[in-house]
């Protein structure tokens, strides 16, 4: 699907506002909504996984080894839900 933006002429927009590139919202960064930032302290993390499912913005990458990686700051809105559920203080809001 060709790049569509506010300059695209009507002749080049998809009809009816259809989108043929499922999940393309990944290209829309929401990181700049953040006022406070979660810091991942890997040394304290026990990989219990409690934070994996709670992120509203899917900003906690989990690899095939079922281990989390550092935050995806392009997407994290800084809600702090993850920090709150962490039993080991491995996430600090700064």
């Amino acid at each position: 699907m060709a790049e569509i933006n506010a300059k695209t002429p009507w002749t080049e927009l998809t009809i009816g506002g259809n989108i043929y590139e499922a999940g393309n919202a990944r290209n829309f960064k929401t990181g700049d909504w953040r006022s406070i930032k979660p810091i991942y302290l890997s040394e304290k993390c026990k990989q219990c996984g409690l934070c994996f499912p709670v992120c509203p913005d899917d900003a906690i990458p989990v690899n095939k080894e079922q281990k989390r990686e550092d935050f995806n700051y392009d997407m994290c809105k800084g809600c702090g839900v993850c920090a709150k559920v962490c039993p080991f203080g491995a996430i600090e809001m700064k």
Partner: protein, 317 residues
């Protein structure tokens, strides 16, 4: 297989992506994402969404946060729209117009406004006709999309923009509609009420059952709204937990008419625990308003008792 949330999350890519514009800390996205993770990775899905917070923040042209096919038409007709898609699938499959080996599942999402209220007729019709679909209500207890107006899912006494807690009328004076029981009385193969607590086990397992039980199934999922309820965003999971531990939001399922409470708190917490952190109930804690808390507690107890009774009756041999 036994539920292992780490395994599920690691092996089943998210079908509800980042880049949506729901509020920071919104309770709905984790719910929707986990519901969709209950889909077999090889299965395709068509998602229908009623107009509401979720729809207007996940599909803003030209971006969609859904990796499956998705359709939104209007506020009150997610049930009928999804039914139409499912009817098309049935018809085209039977005529050999679709690949034999491919399975598509049909899931509709609606908020309490689009489900309890304006969309109730469409939902009831779709369920009664037995379309092979799951309707998931993410219940945040008010019309949050338009700015926190009361719905029939709004709990009693809650302060909303159309039931403001005033000097004469202390918030919403009517009690919550019990939609889960209403849907159970449609005599569907599977109806459940759940919430995203602990590691989402209850939510995942009920989603899986709902999606893979043939016929019309209904899920009612609590979806706390930090803005509408007035609690700090980071408290999301705590609020979920308190709703369940106080039995304000019991977790149960109704399988072919048999009720099963899937979580019974060892010690039922007093309702204050749930109400206290939320600004919408603040006025209930003013001196002289104790009666409101008592009344609220009475109602919660009565509904919990009714549920225990239903479980007992329907499981008698």
């Amino acid at each position: 297989m036994a539920y292992n949330h780490k395994e599920i999350i690691a092996n089943r890519p998210s079908r509800f992506t980042s880049g949506h514009r729901m509020c920071a800390g919104c309770g709905a996205p984790p719910v929707a994402r986990m519901v969709l993770r209950a889909l077999k990775p090889e299965d395709h899905a068509v998602i229908t969404n009623a107009t509401g917070c979720m729809e207007v923040s996940t599909f803003i042209y030209p971006y969609t946060a859904w990796t499956d096919s998705f359709i939104h038409t209007a506020f009150e007709c997610a049930g009928a729209t999804c039914a139409g898609v499912e009817a098309a699938y049935k018809s085209m499959k039977a005529q050999g117009k679709l690949p034999e080996d491919k399975t598509t599942k049909f899931i509709a999402f609606g908020g309490d406004g689009g489900t309890y209220d304006i969309g109730l007729q469409s939902l009831s019709g779709a369920m009664e006709r037995g379309h092979d679909m799951v309707y998931v209500c993410y219940d945040n207890g008010a019309y949050m999309n338009t700015g926190i107006q009361r719905s029939s899912a709004t709990p009693k006494f809650a302060d909303t923009t159309t039931t403001p807690a005033g000097t004469k009328i202390p918030g919403k004076m009517q009690s919550r509609k019990d939609l889960t029981l209403i849907m159970a009385n449609h005599h569907l193969p599977y109806v459940a009420q759940t919430a995203a607590i602990m590691n989402f086990k209850d939510l995942y397992e009920k989603s899986e059952k709902a999606i893979y039980t043939e016929g019309a199934c209904f899920l009612n999922v609590l979806a706390p709204c930090p803005r509408g309820w007035g609690y700090p965003t980071e408290m999301l999971m705590e609020i979920n937990k308190l709703a369940v531990e106080t039995c304000y939001w019991p977790l149960y399922e109704v399988v072919n008419g048999k009720y099963k409470i899937t979580y019974k708190p060892a010690k039922k917490l007093p309702i204050e625990e749930f109400l206290k952190p939320q600004k919408r109930f603040k006025h209930m804690f003013k001196p002289g308003n104790e009666w409101m808390i008592e009344e609220f507690q009475k109602e919660v107890d009565a509904r919990w008792e009714e549920l225990l009774r239903l479980e007992e009756i329907t499981n008698k041999e």
